[in-house]
Point group: D3
Chain length 319, copies 6
Amino acid sequence: MTDLVTFGETMLRLSPPGEERLETADQYNVRAAGAESNVAVAAQRLGLDATWTSKLPDSPVGRRVASELRRHGVTVDVVWDESETSRQGTYYLEQGERPRGNDVIYDRRNASVTTAATAELPTDAIADAEGFHTTGITPALSDTLESTTADLLSVAQEAGTTTCMDLNYRSKLWEPAAARAVLTELFPAVDVLVVAERDAEVVLDRRGDAASIAAGLSDEFGFEATVVTRGSEGALAHVDGEVVEQPTFEATDAHPVGTGDSFVGGFLSQYLTGESVADALTWGAATAALKRSIPGDIAVVSPEEVRSILRGDTEAISR
Amino acid sequence: MTDLVTFGETMLRLSPPGEERLETADQYNVRAAGAESNVAVAAQRLGLDATWTSKLPDSPVGRRVASELRRHGVTVDVVWDESETSRQGTYYLEQGERPRGNDVIYDRRNASVTTAATAELPTDAIADAEGFHTTGITPALSDTLESTTADLLSVAQEAGTTTCMDLNYRSKLWEPAAARAVLTELFPAVDVLVVAERDAEVVLDRRGDAASIAAGLSDEFGFEATVVTRGSEGALAHVDGEVVEQPTFEATDAHPVGTGDSFVGGFLSQYLTGESVADALTWGAATAALKRSIPGDIAVVSPEEVRSILRGDTEAISR
Amino acid sequence: MTDLVTFGETMLRLSPPGEERLETADQYNVRAAGAESNVAVAAQRLGLDATWTSKLPDSPVGRRVASELRRHGVTVDVVWDESETSRQGTYYLEQGERPRGNDVIYDRRNASVTTAATAELPTDAIADAEGFHTTGITPALSDTLESTTADLLSVAQEAGTTTCMDLNYRSKLWEPAAARAVLTELFPAVDVLVVAERDAEVVLDRRGDAASIAAGLSDEFGFEATVVTRGSEGALAHVDGEVVEQPTFEATDAHPVGTGDSFVGGFLSQYLTGESVADALTWGAATAALKRSIPGDIAVVSPEEVRSILRGDTEAISR
Amino acid sequence: MTDLVTFGETMLRLSPPGEERLETADQYNVRAAGAESNVAVAAQRLGLDATWTSKLPDSPVGRRVASELRRHGVTVDVVWDESETSRQGTYYLEQGERPRGNDVIYDRRNASVTTAATAELPTDAIADAEGFHTTGITPALSDTLESTTADLLSVAQEAGTTTCMDLNYRSKLWEPAAARAVLTELFPAVDVLVVAERDAEVVLDRRGDAASIAAGLSDEFGFEATVVTRGSEGALAHVDGEVVEQPTFEATDAHPVGTGDSFVGGFLSQYLTGESVADALTWGAATAALKRSIPGDIAVVSPEEVRSILRGDTEAISR
Amino acid sequence: MTDLVTFGETMLRLSPPGEERLETADQYNVRAAGAESNVAVAAQRLGLDATWTSKLPDSPVGRRVASELRRHGVTVDVVWDESETSRQGTYYLEQGERPRGNDVIYDRRNASVTTAATAELPTDAIADAEGFHTTGITPALSDTLESTTADLLSVAQEAGTTTCMDLNYRSKLWEPAAARAVLTELFPAVDVLVVAERDAEVVLDRRGDAASIAAGLSDEFGFEATVVTRGSEGALAHVDGEVVEQPTFEATDAHPVGTGDSFVGGFLSQYLTGESVADALTWGAATAALKRSIPGDIAVVSPEEVRSILRGDTEAISR
Amino acid sequence: MTDLVTFGETMLRLSPPGEERLETADQYNVRAAGAESNVAVAAQRLGLDATWTSKLPDSPVGRRVASELRRHGVTVDVVWDESETSRQGTYYLEQGERPRGNDVIYDRRNASVTTAATAELPTDAIADAEGFHTTGITPALSDTLESTTADLLSVAQEAGTTTCMDLNYRSKLWEPAAARAVLTELFPAVDVLVVAERDAEVVLDRRGDAASIAAGLSDEFGFEATVVTRGSEGALAHVDGEVVEQPTFEATDAHPVGTGDSFVGGFLSQYLTGESVADALTWGAATAALKRSIPGDIAVVSPEEVRSILRGDTEAISR
C-alpha cells in the first residue's frame, strides 16, 4: 500500500551550467522538476512509500521525466499521452548571485498534464493512501486541472485520506484574486494547508504575525493543521489550537529552488506516520536545509543525514 | 543593401551529447536551427549579405536564437514578441548510428513565429533584395504563416526579387495532399524550386528519372530553375531547357542534419551573384559535403574551404 | 506479480570519456553494469515486469547502482549490506578503436554481493515468477555465491519457474576447468541455456557446427532450449528437437559491451510470454543490434524501436 | 548611423574551468576579451548602435573573436590581416578565491592589431558617430598604435564626435612614467576621461580625495567630464564645475574581470544619448554590479535588468 | 640525492563534479590523493627533491596514480604489484556546503600497498635522504604496514635522516586506543611530530592549551620538535624548550581537503633545509592557505606564490 | 644515465573538442605537443630512460608543458626563460572527418625556445647518452636554433652518441629549397635519418621507389641507417647495404597526429638497445598503429600493448 500520493505537473527543467546565461550558453542541464514530485521524492527517500500521478507525453522526453523520479524509488503512475498534441512542459532556469537572482521562464502551456481528467487517474490508489498532496499550482494550469484537482481532493476526503495542499502562489500563472477564488473553493476538502507568509498576504489577504495568520486560517477553513513558512525565519504550525514554532537550520544559499517542497516532503514523512507536529516541522526544516546544498529541485537526502542535522553534527570533513 | 532575405522558423535545438539518449542524458546541447536561417548563414559565410526575418519571443531564449545567427554575420531582422503567450519553438534531436538513426521530436506548436503577420515584417528589405528564400515548412506551421508566406512571395515577385523555395516536406507537420494543395498554390510566385527527388514523388506525385521530373516541374509551373536533389547521388538542375548534373563530393555521414540547407545556401551564394547554374550546383554540393563534417545544423564554412574542395585538396593534415 | 527475477552482481563501471586512456583521464564516466541487471532492464523495457536481486553496500555508492536500475522501471529487491566490510564492486573500462580494443580491469573481490546467502534473498518472489535468470559469472565470484546460485535455481525449479542461464565465461575470474566443473553441476536445474559458441568450445569442450553443439547440449543436459550465440554470425536455438536460426541485424560497432545481455533480455521478453522461439530470437537479435548504438552496458530501448527494426525501417532522419 | 565607435585590441582569453590551475588543467574556456570591445558590447546591449574597430588575423582564431562580439549585435568593422606574420593576441586568466586572486598572463606581443594604421581604419564612421571610445591600453601596445590612437582621437575631435578615454593603466605593459608621458599627450583630444582613483595616483601623480582629483584633472586638461572610479566605494564625476557621486550596488565578487568596462558601457549608453551625468553614473554602476555576477569579460545584460536594479527589485527567485 | 622520502598509501579519489551527489552523478572527477604523497608534492614544488615510495598495482589505474605525482616532479619509486590480487585503493569524496560537509567513503581494504614489505622498498634512498616522512594512517592499514613503518623509521633513524610523522587520526580506520598503542610504539624513532590539537586529545589523551600539549609531548617522547595544528587558530611548535606560534593566513573554505598535508609540505621545505622553525611554520601556514583555494588534494603552488603571501600582496587582479 | 636525449620545441596544443570548429567552440582541449618530446615519451614508455631538453617560459603555461611530459616519466631538463619577452609557443588544431581534414594554425614565432643557445643546454647529458634525436623542424624555427642544432649534433657525434634526425618538413615554416640547404648541411653529423617518402621528393628531390631512395641517401650522406616512411604503405630501412621492409598494422584513422613521432619512438626504443633494425621497425610500426587510436599527439602505450600487437591479439573485449 502507498503511504502518499501526490498529483501535479512535472516539467523538464533546462538550465545553463553554473552561472552562465541562457542567451549565451551552449549546453543546458536537464532535470525533472515539479512541486508535487519534489514532495514525493523527499517523502520516499525519508521512508514513505510514495506515488506520483500525472500525465506525460509518450515520448523520450516524457520518459526522461518519469525516469528521473523512479530512480529515487517513487512509483510513477501516470497517463501516457499518445495524442498528436501531447507535449512535455518545460521551464528555463537561470541561476546567478546578486544582483541577479534565479530567473524562471515557463514554457508549460498546453502540456499533456493540462488535459488530465479524473477518470484517467488512479483514484483507488488515492483512496487507499494515508495522504494525498497537491499544490496551488495545479488548478492554475487549466480548467480541466482545476476540476480534476477538486475531484481528487474529494475522493481523498471521502476515503479518509489526509489531504495536504501547499498554496504555492505563482505570479507568472495567475492573478492573486483568481488564485484566491479558486483555492478557497478547494479548502473545505483540505486537511493540512501549507502557505508561505507572503502568499498568505498576497493571495489570502491575511496580515499580522504568522501565528495569528495560522490560527485565523485554521478557524475559518477548519484545517486540521495550518503550516506557515517564513523563509529564513523558520516555520510554525497551528494545530489543535496550539502553535508550534520551528527555526531554520543553518544552510547555504547555493541551491534555493525546491526548498519549500523539501520542507513539505520532510514534514509529511513524519506527519503521515503519526509523529508529532513538532517532529514533523523539525524534519521539514532539516530536509529543507539539506536541499539548499544540493543542485537541482530535488532533495537527494537520506534519513541518516536528516538525523545527523538533528544531532547537530558539524564536522567539516568526515573520514 | 541586402543580397538575400530568408523567412521561416528557427527553433532551439536540444540534443544529448554524442550518441546519448534523450531519456537518460543529463545535459542537452543547445543550438539554433531552422531551414531558412541555415540557408542565410551558409550564404552569408560564402559572400552574400544575408538577412533572416521571423518572429521570436522577447526573452533570453528567443535572444539565444538571434545571438547564434548574428555571430555568423547574418542580419537578424525579427519581430520581438512581447505578448504573454510568446514562446520559442524547440525540437529535440537524438543522434545515433545504425540501426538507430536521427530522431526528431518537434515542440513547435504555438511558437511566436506562427503569428507572424505580413504587416510586421520587413517587406521593403525583401523588395530591395536580390533574392528571397523560404521553404515548404513555413506555410505548414499555421494559417497565418500560410498567408504571410504567400504575401511575401508576392512582394518579392512584384519587386523583381528572385524567389526561391525549398519544398522540404515534413511528414510530422502535414499530410502529402495538404502540402501539395498549399504549395502548388504558392508556386506561381516562385522562380527557383529546390525539391528532393523523394518529396517530388510523395508530395507532387512525380515519378521517373530526376531529369524528367525537373523538366516537368519547370514546364508545368514555369520555374526559372528547378533543382532536384538526390541524396548521395547528387543533384541536377533544369534551367533554360537544359539539365545540368552535379555529383556529390565524398563526405562523412557524421553530421547529416542541415545538408540540404547548406546545399541551398551554397547554390544561392553563386546563383544570386550571376554565376552559372553549373557553378552554383558545384558550390552547393561542396558546401553540403563540408556541412556533413560539422556538428549542428549550420554550415560553418568559408569560401576558401569550398574552393579547396573544388580544387580537390586532399591532404589529411595541413601543417 | 513479477515476470522475471534476475540474480547477480552489478558493478560500478568507471570509464574515461571517448577514447581517452585510464592512465591520463581526469574524469571517468560512471554507470551501473552487471550481466543480470542488464538483462532485467532490457526485459523490463520490452514489456516484462522485472526484478533484480542482489546485495549492495548501504552507501551512496551502492545506492548509485540501485538508482540507475530503478530509473528503467526495474524493481530493485536487494539486501543492503550495513557491515563494516561492505563494498561496492567496480570495474574500469577503457574503450578504443583498433588496434586497441575494450579493456576491462575488475576490482570486484570482496564486494558485498559475494556474501549473499540464500536466506537473505527473496526466494518467494523467485518461486512466484515466470522466469529466473542468472549467469555463469555469479557462481565464479565466491563459494557463498556458488552455493546460493544452486539454491536459487532449485527454488525456481521446484516452483515451476522457468530457469535461464547465460554461461558467460570470464577468463579473468576462473579457469575453464573450474568453470566447467561448477556450471555443469548447476545445469540440471537450468531450463534454458544461452552460450556463446566460443565458450562452448573453451569451457564445455564442444566443437563442430553450432547446430550440433546446441543439439548435443540439449541432449546431454536436458535443456528445454539451448541457444548458441555466434557474434556477427547470429544465433540459433535448439528446442523440441528442432534448430531455429537467426542472423544479426546490421549495426554499428560503437558500443559492443552489453550486446549479449541485451540479446538475452530481448529473447526472454518474448520467450516468457509464450511467443515462439523464432520470435524470441528475432527480438533478441534486434535488441542486441540497437544496444550496439547505445553508450553504456544497458539497452535503453523501447518495444516500438525493436518493432521498427523488425519492419526494416531505414530512414536516416525521421522528421 | 552608428552611435559609438570603440577602438582597441580584443584578445582570445584562455582560462581553466572554475578554480583549476593553468598548469594542471586539460581544458581552457575560450572567450573574446578586450576593454574597448567590452564597452561596445555593454553599450550596444543597453541601446546604442555600437561598432568596434580593430585589426584581426584572417584565420579561424581571429574569426572566433569577431564572432563572439557580433552575437551581441555589435558591428565588427575590422581590418583582416592576411599577412604571414598575422597573429591573434591571447591572454591566460587563472581565477581563484583568496589567498589566490585572478592572475593574468599576456601573450599579446606582435598581435595583428599592433600594426593597425590610421589609413586602414574606418575614420568616416568615427567622424559620423556620436561618440568614440578607446583606453590607455591601446597606445601602450606599439608605436604604431600610439600614433593611430592619436590620429583617431583627432579625427573624432575635429568631427565633433564626443571622445572618451578610460585610462586603464596596465603595469604589465609599461611603466607609470611612460604611460603618463604618452597619455597626457593625448588628453587634449579627449572629452571624457574615466580613471580609477589608484591609477590617478600611480600614473598621474594625483593625491587627495577623489572629488578634488576629478576637479583638478578637469581644470588642467579641460575635460568635458572627468569620472573617477573607486572600486567598492563607487564613482564620481566632475562636470560643469559640479561633482556627482554614485555609490555601488550590492554585488557578488564572483566575476570581477570586466567590471570597469561595463561601468563605462553603461555610462556611455546614457551620456551619449543626452541623459544627465547622474543618470549615466547610475546606469554605469548598475551595469557594473550585474557584470560581477556574469562569467567572462562581457556584460551580457539587458536594459530591463538594469532598470530592475534601479527599482531595487530583490526577489531571489522570480516565478 | 633526494632531500625527502615519504611513504604511505595514495588512493584514486573519485568525486562528483561541483556539489553533485555520489548517488546521482554520471561522472566522477579522478585525482591521486594520499597524505604522504601530498606532502611530497608540496615539498617538491617548494624546492626540495622529493621521492614518494609505496606499492601500486601494475595496471593503468596504478599508473594513473604514479602519473599524477610525477607531473609535479616527484620521483615515484614504487613496487609494481603484478600479483593477481593487486588492487588500487580508492576513496569516494562528496563535497558540499553547509549543512552538508565533505563526506569520505574509503574503499582501500586489500590495496596493493597493504602488502608492502620492508625488503621491497628503497631503504637506501631513505638512509641517504635529509628527511623521511610518514603518517599515522600508514600503520593503520595492515599488520604488514605497521611493521614496515617501524622498520623504515628505524632505517632512517639509524642513518641520521630526520624523521617526521603527522599523526593524522582516521576514525574510519581504527579506534583511538588502538591508534595510541601502535603510534606511541613508533614515537621513539620520530624526530618531528605533527599533531592536530583534536587528535592529541582523542588519541593521545592530552588536554589543556596547545603550548602545554606540545611541551608535554616533547618531554615525554623526546621529539626534536612537536608541532600542534589548531585549524583556523593556526599552529605552534615546541622546539628547544621554546614555543613558536603561527596564525593562519586568510583563505577561502572552498577546498579544505589536503590543508594539513600542505602545511607539512611547506614546513618541511624549510625545516629540512635548515631554516628556522618560525620560518618553517610560516611557509607551512602560507602553503596551507593557498591549498584551500585549489581543487583536489594537492597544493599546486610555487615558491613565488608562497612569498607573495608572506609579503602580504593582496591585489585581486594582477595585470 | 640517460639512454636518449631529444631536443626541440614543444607547444601548447589548443583544439576544440570532437569535431567542433575553432571559430565557434567555447572550450579548447589543452595538450603538450612537439615532435621531439613525442619521441621522448614514446621511447620512455617503451623502456628507455629519456630526457627532453628545450627552453620554456618560466610561467604556469610553460610549466603546463613540462608537467604533461613528466607524467610519462620523461626527464625534463630545460632552460626556464625568465625574461620579459619569454613566451610559450602554441598551435591551434582543428580536427574533422572528410572532406575536412586536420587543420593546423601555428602561433610559435618568438617562443622562448627560439633563443635556446648551446651554452644553456645540457651538452654533458647528450655526450653521455646512447642516442640524441632532433627533427628538421628545430633548425627551421630561428637562426639561433639552426646553429644550436648543429652544435648539439656535433657534441653528440664527437662523444659517440648515436644521432637521429626525422626530416619532418613543415611547409608552413619554410620553403623546400631553404630546408634542403640547411638540413643537408647538418646531415654529416647524423647517423640515422628518418624521412617520409613525400618529403624525400619535395625537399631532397629524390624520386623513384623507396628502397632506392633510402639506398641513395645512405650512399650520398653516409648514414648508418636511412628509414623511409610511406604512410599506409609501411616503412623500410636501408642499413649495412640491405633493405628491410615493414608493413603497417591495421589501425583506425581517428587520431593520426603524432603517428610519425610514435614510429620513431618505438624504433629508437629497440635500435638504441641493440635490437635488430627489423625489430626496431616492427616496434615502430606497432607503436604508430597504437597511437592512431589514442587522442592527442602522444603515444600513451606500454611495452605489453606493443607486444600484444606483435602477437596478433585481436579480441575486441578483454574480460
